[in-house]
């Protein structure tokens, strides 16, 4: 008996415990993604693309290597091998398994991973996209506090074939100041990396793995001092270029998927989802500020849905 898990709708069999994921409760389909420990292949061929932590071969096989953490081999969108470094905490392996490795799996499977959190509002998904530290998880959590279920945190997988967003797994990573503003205690929570002020928080309430049509993408940016904080529709001519910047593991993905395929996937996403700019204050998060922001986004999204 295997304790298979659910990730982006895939049946995942993992030799490493993945407490952030829900158990697989779907049909008895074959396993989609298998995560094994050890046995990283050593290809004789030279990689076609090399970055300090990443290597990619012509067949799309990918290696992520982090000194002191481990090595991760990802192939064919279905096989992952992990070689943990001595003494590494398993939570550190998961930070990369559920981050970079998930992103590469998406590219290998012909999906579009967006650097975004996603929230279900009225049966549709809104994506909150932005660079690290822009406040994606924060806004998703503030919407969660208003009763909107999480669909993805940090990496949102869009399936261009179905034109639908694949809810990933019910877990978010939140910074200490946001936990405080949401009156959550960080004691006992697992940090993203030991010592980092960012913690895993389960978000199972209302999580539903059924794929969702995408309603809107909100691009977070820092609000300048005198700038209005109105949510504005992005100029359609620029929207796709802005969204393109938000492709997760983009440099690697461009060596796995043809440029055209990614462009097609972005335009497919934009067939149902409009793109909006959301300037956000950098001021310290307070319960009132977070709720006001979430309420504005909720009202805006409902307005879009009603059209």
């Amino acid at each position: 008996m295997h304790n298979d898990m659910l990730l982006c709708g895939w049946r995942v069999r993992s030799a490493l415990p993945l407490p952030e994921l829900l158990p697989w409760q779907g049909d008895d389909r074959p396993v989609n993604v298998e995560i094994a420990v050890g046995g990283i292949p050593q290809p004789e061929a030279q990689p076609v693309f090399v970055l300090p932590h990443s290597r990619l071969w012509a067949d799309g096989a990918f290696l992520l290597a982090l000194d002191g953490v481990g090595r991760f081999w990802v192939q064919g969108g279905q096989r992952v091998k992990v070689e943990p470094a001595a003494g590494v905490d398993e939570s550190e392996l998961r930070a990369f398994l559920l981050g970079s490795v998930l992103g590469v799996l998406c590219h290998q499977r012909g999906l579009l991973p967006i650097h975004a959190s996603a929230v279900r509002i009225g049966g549709r998904a809104i994506l909150i996209a932005g660079n690290s530290g822009a406040g994606k998880s924060t806004l998703a959590a503030a919407l969660g506090a208003r009763g909107h279920a999480l669909a993805a945190d940090d990496v949102a997988a869009f399936d261009p074939a179905q034109g639908l967003l694949l809810p990933a797994f019910p877990n978010r990573k939140l910074a200490t100041d946001v936990l405080e503003a949401l009156a959550l205690d960080h004691r006992g929570l697992v940090a993203n990396r030991p010592g980092q002020p960012k913690f895993h928080v389960s978000a199972q309430a209302g999580f539903d793995p059924a794929p969702l049509p995408a309603l809107a993408v909100y691009l977070l940016s820092t609000r300048k001092a005198r700038q209005s904080d109105d949510i504005e529709r992005a100029d359609p001519a620029l929207a796709i270029a802005r969204l393109d910047r938000m492709v997760y593991r983009r440099a690697i993905g461009l060596h796995i998927q043809p440029r055209q395929a990614l462009f097609h996937a972005l335009s497919r996403l934009m067939q149902t989802a409009t793109v909006h700019l959301l300037p956000r204050d950098e001021a310290k998060p307070t319960p009132e500020r977070l709720d006001r922001l979430a309420e504005r986004v909720e009202t805006h999204a409902r307005g879009l849905a009603a059209r």
């Binding site: 970055l51 660079n131 690290s132 530290g133 990396r193 300048k224």
Partner: protein, 276 residues
């Protein structure tokens, strides 16, 4: 393959002024949009690290980030078609892998900006929303680091500053082409000093273009621009970034004891630079 010129300084030493001058110079002396600087970049921007290295710096430890930063600059230098101008507040120090943070092979040179540490202390205190004593403490702390993670993820990568004196010594000892500019000299004769900076960076500019760009970034103009548009580099909750823009303001802002402490801690470096 091109390379990188570092616009290096301890914080609050005129770096933003120089960057806005270069912005204006590239625009033929027009007033720069202070919130959309494009001609120069920042070596510690998280976004560039994440996009170029295609990994989340937020998933990395400070040590892992420091080890990877030289690779970022090598890739940026390799892919650039023209020299890059990057602001840097880090001290010129080795990474945990014991190599220069700013790789020599990617480096074309550095402009090192320096300012009287007594004025830096006053300016730094305002910028950080801290007391002057806290600022002086920080300037004497060999472990001082900018953008350290507190309760949230800072916008910038962590930057080891060292002490004010240590910062100066590190850059003045770096084995690279260098132009040393004193903030006080930039104030006294901006056209000459900014002209020197432009020449050092290999920018082909006529004297009247230099003068026009200097005029476009006069302190009152930058201050007025911040007044109407706000400034993205000002810390949240801090009233203004462009505060005073003078030399010797410390005389009416520091107590004799505070000035004496800075002079005691940084005396040798201050003497070397003509501040004592």
């Amino acid at each position: 393959m091109s390379g990188i010129y570092w616009l290096a300084s301890y914080p609050k030493s005129g770096n933003t002024w120089l960057r806005l001058f270069l912005e204006s110079l590239a625009a033929g002396g027009a007033a720069p949009d202070i919130n959309a600087v494009e001609v120069t970049g920042n070596a510690a921007v998280r976004e560039a690290f994440d996009h170029v290295l295609d990994i989340e710096s937020s998933d990395l430890t400070d040590d892992e980030i420091a080890r990877a930063r030289p690779r970022l600059y090598e890739i940026e230098a390799c892919t650039a078609t023209a020299p890059l101008l990057l602001k840097a507040h880090d001290a010129w120090h080795p990474t945990p892998a014991d190599e220069p943070l700013f790789p020599l092979a990617a480096t074309l040179g550095a402009i090192y900006l320096v300012r009287d540490p007594r004025d830096v202390a006053v300016s730094l205190a305002h910028h950080m929303g801290q007391s002057i004593d806290q600022a002086i403490e920080r300037m004497g702390d060999p472990r001082a680091t900018m953008a350290m993670a507190g309760k949230r993820l800072p916008k910038q990568l962590p930057q080891h500053l060292s002490t004010w004196s240590g910062h100066v010594a590190s850059w003045l000892g770096a084995p690279i082409e260098r132009l040393l500019l004193r903030y006080e000299d930039m104030l006294a004769d901006p056209v000459a000093r900014f002209g020197e900076a432009a020449r050092f960076l290999g920018l082909d500019a006529e004297p009247d273009q230099i003068a026009a760009a200097v005029d476009a970034v006069r302190f009152e103009r930058l201050r007025a621009a911040e007044e109407t548009q706000g400034f993205i580099e000002a810390q949240p909750g801090v009233e203004r970034f462009f505060r005073r823009g003078v030399a010797g303001g410390w005389r009416d802002s520091l107590t004799p004891a505070q000035a004496a402490r800075i002079e005691a801690e940084h005396g040798p470096t201050m003497r070397k630079l003509g501040y004592l």
